[in-house]
Amino acid sequence: MLFFIQSLSAVILAFAILQNLFYLLMVVLAVNELILNRRFSLLARDPILMDHHTVPGISILVPAYNESATIVESVTSLLNLRYPNYEVVVINDGSTDETARTLIEAFDLRTSERAYPRVVKHERVRGLYANPRYPNLLFVDKNNGGKADALNAGLNVARKSLFCAVDADSILNPDSLLDVVKPFVEDPIECLAVGGTIRIANGSRIERGMVTEERVPASVLPLFQTVEYFRAFLLSRLAFSNLRGVGIISGAFGLFKRDAVMQIGGYRLDTVGEDMELVIRLHRHAIEHGIPYKIRNVPEPVCWTEAPEDLRILRRQRTRWQRGMLETLFNHRTMLFNPAYGRMGTFIMPYFFLFDVVGPVLDLVGLICIPILFGLGFLSPEFFLAYFAVVIFFGIFLSMLSIVVGELSLFPVSYHI
């Protein structure tokens, strides 16, 4: 019994030390990535990037399901982005409300005869709609098949070399595409996908589909998530980007090379975490075929999203995320701890497995064990309190560091860090 308790304690303690050391390492890597990125930003904000012939075209894919209340404002905001060569493809995924009619009436859309190749599979498209007055807007009306299915339809219909998958309720900065396209301009050959930093819009002032004034959320739950987003979306993804191994690009905003995604069959329809699954599959395909590639993340806040304000929705969201991750790790289990997959197999995927899958289980075991061990007299109160203080204060320190990195990412690009 004693040996078991000691062994379990040693495992949990070693795990906690390892986890926190990793987090610290990630801060260092994230700051390094931020500095590297800003060096290039000075070039990227050069007006030459606004020239038609220097930036690749982008198709923004907006899957919409029952979004009639917000769809017009979202599309208007997307049509006003500052980018010289882009189109907005709105895909109505068989909405049961008035989404299609609202959009068709608002933009006076007519049936379009646009031809497109059926490279990736999706549900039947009922019709394409466009209006010459909005040459960069296309509306696809299709049968219901889920978000991934809608994105696949958008992939086929899109005409630009890059595509940007966004949620219909995502709020984009006017310069989002310019910010996120930088890695593609830097390396148009090898860059396959780029993620952007997602920020929480709760509490901020939003006018005409754009965040005009950034504020902290008023309620507690989104406030916690704001710090969490700093750590998860900014810190860890920047660190992974520095290691050239970004494993997740959020479904709320991500830019991909269209032909590379079509080559691997588009989005998978049998998973709830289609965004992570796609990125892992891109890694896998490139590594297995010996294709040099890059998947990056940019630190600029490019996309704003509303965080859940009540526990029920939060639980549903986190369940979906966790299920998506488990499915992806299971589907690509042969990559785990496999040196043949380089950093992805030996570092990035084990990181997800250890800290996002095993970690919560160990946390739970630890929390259950504390009162039991204390009751049995196996736990030293002094040791427990000291350890508890380390966990809490080190966590606060890491969160503060992530806020500092977030603050750094907001500096004007003309400023040298």
Partner: protein, 377 residues
């Protein structure tokens, strides 16, 4: 002193507790330090933002200064007292010259930088229809900077329907710069409305659209004292009006050492309704200037009377050009050749080393092939 519960770790002692306490204290200290750094960064960022705001103001002042250079407080026409008009004594070339003089070297790109950082394209599009006449004129002058079909549409509408002649003239000038002006006869009617004696400024616009007489153009281009920018305009005008003998004249510029003149000469030549021989096309395809090679590809695509094989061989070579614009032109030309061209393009896909080229070629093949090639999933 041994402590209770040493079972937690083998050999756990007060030293471990002390170590943990030190770690906790260090974490608190670092967290406090992070807060201080954060607050310092917030202060610093607000300063950086203020500085950026100052720069923005400077840019706006510069834009105002430019407007001051291009507009006169004096009434420019006797029949429009009190109306601020663009300086009629400034031709297009002089206007551009003034803008360039007012700016650092970098000319057009710099202007685009100044104006492009603001959402000026949309602003200008709106101002074509709204705002004071001066602003509408400025909007027309700015719009050609943005290569956008919406701009052409807005300018054409302005030229056709705008009530103020001065705005219509500005729109006409912008359309000429965009090479999207309507035929001369139509433009004259739209510009002058009921005025049977078009004012000088309208004649100036028409001159720019049509070019001077060919003899004058030949002389101007050969004249050493004429500014190079003006020479370029003259060469372009030759392509537009296509006077007899223009091709012979333009061919003398095919090997001109000045790329700024050689490129427009080739482009003007390509506009002439001619069917150039293979020697001319090959010379264009071998030129070090990408825009000339692109012209060569365009000329080749035009020669439908050549055997497809002759065209395809050269176009496939152009596909591997180091400039993507030439590659793009070659892809489009191969598509225009027909089914054999698309097949050749599909075959060449594997030999293309540049990802962008593969991207473009694949898109063209997918769009134009009758059956979609299989893609392994």
């Amino acid at each position: 002193m041994p402590i209770d519960g040493t079972y937690l770790l083998p050999g756990a002692s007060e030293y471990q507790v002390l170590l943990l306490l030190y770690l906790a204290i260090a974490s608190v200290v670092f967290a406090v330090l992070s807060v201080i750094i954060w607050l310092w960064l917030i202060l610093h960022r607000s300063r950086a933002l203020r500085r950026e705001e100052d720069e923005r103001r400077q840019r706006e002042e510069l834009a105002d200064r430019l407007a001051g250079l291009l507009f006169s407080a004096e009434p420019a026409a006797p029949n429009a007292p009190g109306l601020v008009l663009p300086r009629i004594d400034l031709g297009f070339v002089e206007t551009i010259q003034r803008i360039r003089e007012a700016l650092d070297p970098g000319g057009r790109e710099r202007l685009r930088d100044i104006l492009g950082r603001t959402p000026l394209r949309r602003l200008s599009l709106r101002r074509v229809y709204r705002g004071s006449v001066e602003k509408q004129v400025i909007a027309c002058q700015v719009l050609p900077l943005f290569d956008d079909p919406e701009v052409v549409h807005a300018l054409r509408e302005t030229l056709k329907n705008h009530g103020a002649e001065v705005v219509r003239i500005a729109a006409a000038r912008a359309l000429i710069e965009l090479d999207a002006a309507p035929p001369l006869r139509v433009m004259l009617a739209q510009l002058t409305a009921d005025n049977h004696d078009p004012p000088m400024i309208v004649k100036d616009v028409l001159f720019r659209a049509a070019g001077r007489s060919p003899e004058q153009i030949f002389q101007a281009v050969c004249d050493e004292s004429v500014q190079p920018v003006l020479k370029v305009f003259m060469v372009e005008a030759l392509g537009r009006i296509a006077p007899p003998g223009a091709d012979v004249f333009l061919r003398t510029f095919f090997h001109h050492p000045e790329p700024g003149l050689r490129g427009p000469a080739w482009e003007a030549y390509a506009r002439l309704p001619l069917n150039p021989g293979l020697d001319v096309i090959d010379a264009a395809l071998k030129d070090p200037l990408p825009r000339v090679r692109a012209v060569g590809v365009g000329l080749l695509a035009r020669r439908r009377d050549y055997a497809p094989g002759t065209r395809i061989t050269r176009l496939k070579r152009a596909l591997r050009d180091k400039d993507w614009w030439v590659t793009y032109q070659a892809i489009q030309a191969l598509v225009r050749v027909g089914e054999r061209g698309v097949d050749a393009l599909a075959e060449a896909l594997l030999s293309l080393s540049d990802e962008t080229s593969v991207d473009m070629a694949l898109a063209a093949v997918l769009e134009n092939r009758r059956t979609t090639p299989a893609i392994s999933v």
